[in-house]
Structure formats: structure tokens, C-alpha cells
Amino acid sequence: MSLRIVVCVKYVPDATGDRRFADDLTLDREDVDGLLSELDEYAVEQALQIADGADDAEITVVTVGPEDAKDALRKALSMGADKAVHVEDDDLHGSDVMGTSLVLAKAVERTGYDLVICGMASTDGVMGVLPALLAERLGVPQVTLLSEVSVAGGVVTGRRDGDTASEQLEASLPAVVSVTDQSGEARYPSFKGIMAAKKKPVESLDLEDLELDADEVGLAGAWTAVDSATERPARTAGTVVKDEGEGGKQLAEFLAGQKFI
């Protein structure tokens, strides 16, 4: 029987560019370049490796986002995923993590899955809670923040490196997995992969397809509110000295003045 893997990915603003807020205090997507969240590439990579080790597997990559978010799907398809689902709807604008996890849960259920794989966090919001919320909504085990993952005989196992301990985890499928940037370098799409991706199916869904109401998602359905967003003043230039042999002592003097010594 085919192993159905769904990878959830996010289209995010490029962190090396200037990221800002729009007037409604949501992310300004107008003037920034977007891309597949770097941390999601690790999820796609692990999906490909798990699929390689299975007798028969199919990888569907899912995203929720505006038109441009198709770029993130194309990247994942060019790496080797088989098909894609794009959830796009004007009413999704301003969704918080609760809304996004609801939409993803519906999309994943509709697609059908044995294993859902996510990155450890997005590189824009950086909350890192979506995989756990997805597991809660789907009612399946969460096997999250794995630096190593494998699937065999309907069981997913992995290693989670925490602050105080490293844990070996095990759960039966279906399950939600998230992987860290330690899980293994993500492959670069080959030219063949990029050409093949153009022919792979991308299904577009809106809220109606997912049987969701507009007021359950987007700004209207958000359970949190941003009251203000202020650009942090640039740090005022501090003292920079050139080491002429006494740099360490000068630095110690500074630290003593600040009462760190």
C-alpha cells in the first residue's frame, strides 16, 4: 500500500531583505521577495528520503498563501515532490497560527495522509507551534523537532534533542512530524527536476472547497490582535577601537564600567 506523505510548507519574505508591516499590521508582502522557508526545505528532504525507503510512496506538498506562494510549491516539486495543493482565498489574509493550522488540517485531511511532515518553524513568524497544533487538530501523535527520522512498518521513530536531554521517540502512523535543520542537508533541484516540476499537478483550493467559513480564518477569525508595531530604532553606533596591543584590556575596562566585572 502506498505511503501518503504530506509536506506543509510556507512561502515567506526573504530574511535578508527589509521585512515590514502593512497598514493593517499584517505582513507587507508588496515590496519583499518571497521564497520557500529555508526550514521547510529540510521537511521536503526528509519526505524524499522516507519515500525513497518505502516500497511505494507519494509526496504531496501543501501551502496556504497568496498567488506568489506557488513559487514555494514549485521549489518543493522541483526537489522531487509528486504533486501540490495550494490553498488561496482573499479571506485568508491576516490569519494567525490558529487559523492557518485549521486550514492546513482541513487540506491535509482532504488530501489523505499517513505522515505529515513540517519544518521546525517558519523563518518569518518563528513560533514553532504549528506542527503541534496540526497534531492536536488531526488527533494524531506529534513527533516533533526531530534531528533524525525514519519510518518502517507503520511506525515513525526519531531523535529529539532538547535543552536538557536527547530523546528517542516512537509513534504509530498516521502522525505529524517536524524536523530541524540538523536532520540533513536539503538537496538542490536538478535541471531535470526543475523541468519535471512544470508538468506536475498543482491543485488550487479555496475556503469553500475546504468547507470553511470566512469568519473562521483571516483577520476576522484571528484570536490575537496586534495593537502596534514599531520599527526598532537602529542601535546607536557604539565605540569601536582598533587593537594596538591593548584591545583586550580596553574591552575589560569597558566591561568593568558597565559593571559586568
Partner: protein, 320 residues
């Protein structure tokens, strides 16, 4: 006064510092009721009471150690039902955020993660966050349900405040999903004797300029002279010079210490994302053009192999 639920982060009864910081913040919005789970939970009551916990709800069921995350969500939900608090506060650790998020979903509440400050507001607690690699500061509220907020370490001072700290056993009935993810084995991280990176008041980090694992003892010696934690940039971690658990940055740990010393780190945006909220920033780098110097309160353009040992020696001398 309204009660505020605080989930306790502890290791075998030893309460970790970020929980004591949470108690300081919790007192701004109500009376803290602490929830301590797992082996040694009862042993936390003394110190929690000294820091303002009016009540400590404990459960040491084996499920907390045997299965991942969900048993603690079940327990926190039981505490929530028993207390009916005005807010729930959890430390922004990886596990803390997952527990908080699942609880928030279950009780129909919004969640705010990685708050760096918290105060009472007309419409409930207002949380401050640093976003987009700390280039923006936002103030947010939970607009639906009882606010569930996770708070970053070093966001508040630890302030003693005597309270009853009455211990009560928490009755938890574990749901079907609680045993979904089995913890097959657990290997405790070897203690370095240094403070935990995310909660340390001072962090000393090394990067590409350290030029090899064999040179990291220089960074460690400086850290030890200051009682600091050791961090590393992604370049140093990827090169295998220092463990990933010490990585500071967007894909590593986010730190916000009183003092951050970057040695041989150029200051790529991904690194800055993880340390930019540090109160005082110091850098040592031989490249005067390194972007890290845009952030510093004090910078030394020079060879870290000369500057760092001199600094360490000077600190040790001054400590006498």
C-alpha cells in the same frame, strides 16, 4: 485578585530560572498558581512560594516522562478547569510552546509566543514581542478566550515575594492521545557546569574566526571568567567545531542576555536574528567591515587570538 496559571519548568524538582521570572510577570496581572508536573514536582513548592506562588498544583504521574508533550497538556487543562485563571503563562522553550499552543486550541484561546515583556491592560495582558529579526517591536493581545502567553527567558527580573505556596495534588485524567508518542529512551545532556545558553545573563559566542574546534577553549575560558554560557554561530556549528545545542541564531537558539560577546562572528542576518535583543553587545573581529560592528556597544577590531586571551586574563586579574 484573578489567578494566573504558571507552568513550572523544573528538572527533578529544581526550578529553572525562567519560571521564577514568569512569577514576577504573573504578579503584575494576578495571583500566580503554579503547576508542577513530573518527578520531583512536590519539591518545587518551597522556592515557588518564596517567589509569589499562592498555590502549587502538582502531579508526578509517570506519563509525563513516558510520553511526549500531550500528558502535560492534559494536566495543564485539568489545572485550568480547576482554577479558571485570567491568563496562562509558560516559558518559551520548545516544549513549553508546544504545550501552550495545544492548550490554547483546546480552551478556544489565542496564543502569543516569545513575549519579551508583559503588562496588565484594559482588555487583558499586553505582550511585547521582537519580530523580523528584532527589527520591529510589537504589542499584542489575545482577543479570544483566556490569554495563553509564552515568555522568553531573561524577560523579567527574579523578585522574591513571599506567598503561601500551598501544595495541592492535581487530579489528571489522561486522554486517548496522551500515550500517542512514546519516549523510548532519554539521554541526559552532559553538564558543562556553565549556565544554560537561553537563560544565561552573559553569553560568549565564537564563530568562523575561531578557526577550529581546538581553539574553542579560548572562548570557553573567557566565558568561565565571566560565569557565562558559550554560544556558537552556525558557521562554527556546521564546521563541527561546537555542538548544535549551542547554536545562536535564526535556526538555533534565540538569546537575550544582559551581555553578548561575539568573537570571530561577522554578524550575518541569521545570527543577528538570534541575539539582537541582547542588552549590551560586544564584538571582537579582525574585519573592520563586519556587519556585527553596526550593532555593538563596544567593538574591538583585532585578532581574537590576541584580544580574547588578554581580555580573559584582565578579567581574572580584576576579580583577584
Amino acid at each position: 485578585m484573578a489567578e494566573v496559571l504558571v507552568l513550572v519548568d523544573h528538572v527533578d524538582g529544581a526550578v529553572r530560572k525562567p519560571t521564577l521570572e514568569l512569577l514576577t510577570l504573573a504578579r503584575r496581572i494576578g495571583d500566580p498558581v503554579a503547576v508542577a508536573l513530573g518527578a520531583g514536582a512536590g519539591g518545587t513548592a518551597g522556592v515557588l512560594g518564596e517567589h509569589g506562588a499562592v498555590k502549587v498544583l502538582t502531579s508526578d504521574a509517570p506519563e509525563f516522562a513516558d510520553y511526549l508533550v500531550v500528558p502535560k497538556v492534559d494536566a495543564l487543562q485539568a489545572a485550568f478547569d480547576a482554577v479558571s485563571p485570567a491568563a496562562v503563562l509558560v516559558v518559551s522553550s520548545a516544549e513549553g510552546k508546544e504545550i501552550a499552543a495545544r492548550l490554547a486550541l483546546r480552551i478556544g484561546s489565542g496564543i502569543i509566543t516569545d513575549a519579551t515583556d508583559l503588562e496588565a491592560g484594559d482588555e487583558g495582558p499586553v505582550a511585547t514581542q521582537a519580530v523580523f529579526a528584532a527589527s520591529y517591536t510589537t504589542r499584542s493581545r489575545v482577543s479570544k478566550g483566556v490569554p495563553v502567553i509564552t515568555v522568553k527567558p531573561n524577560s523579567a527580573p527574579v523578585e522574591p515575594a513571599a506567598a503561601a505556596g500551598t501544595v495541592e495534588a492535581l487530579t489528571v485524567s489522561f486522554g486517548e492521545t496522551a500515550s500517542g508518542t512514546k519516549v523510548v529512551s532519554r539521554t541526559a545532556r552532559e553538564s558543562t557546569g556553565r549556565p544554560e545558553l537561553t537563560e544565561a545573563a552573559i553569553v560568549v559566542s565564537g564563530g568562523r574566526g575561531v578557526n577550529g574546534a581546538e581553539n574553542f577553549p579560548l572562548i570557553e575560558a573567557l566565558a568561565d571568567s565571566l560565569g557565562a554560557a558559550v554560544g556558537a554561530s552556525r558557521a562554527a556549528v556546521d564546521a563541527g567545531w561546537y555542538p548544535h545545542t549551542s547554536q545562536v541564531g535564526q535556526t538555533g537558539k534565540s538569546v537575550s542576555p544582559q551581555l553578548y560577546i561575539a568573537s570571530g562572528i561577522s554578524g550575518a542576518i541569521q545570527h543577528r536574528a538570534g541575539m539582537q535583543t541582547s542588552k549590551t553587545i560586544v564584538a571582537i573581529n579582525k574585519d573592520a567591515e563586519a556587519p556585527i560592528f553596526e550593532l555593538v556597544d563596544y567593538g574591538v577590531v583585532g585578532d581574537l587570538f590576541a584580544v580574547v586571551p588578554q581580555l580573559t586574563e584582565e578579567i581574572n586579574t580584576r576579580k583577584g
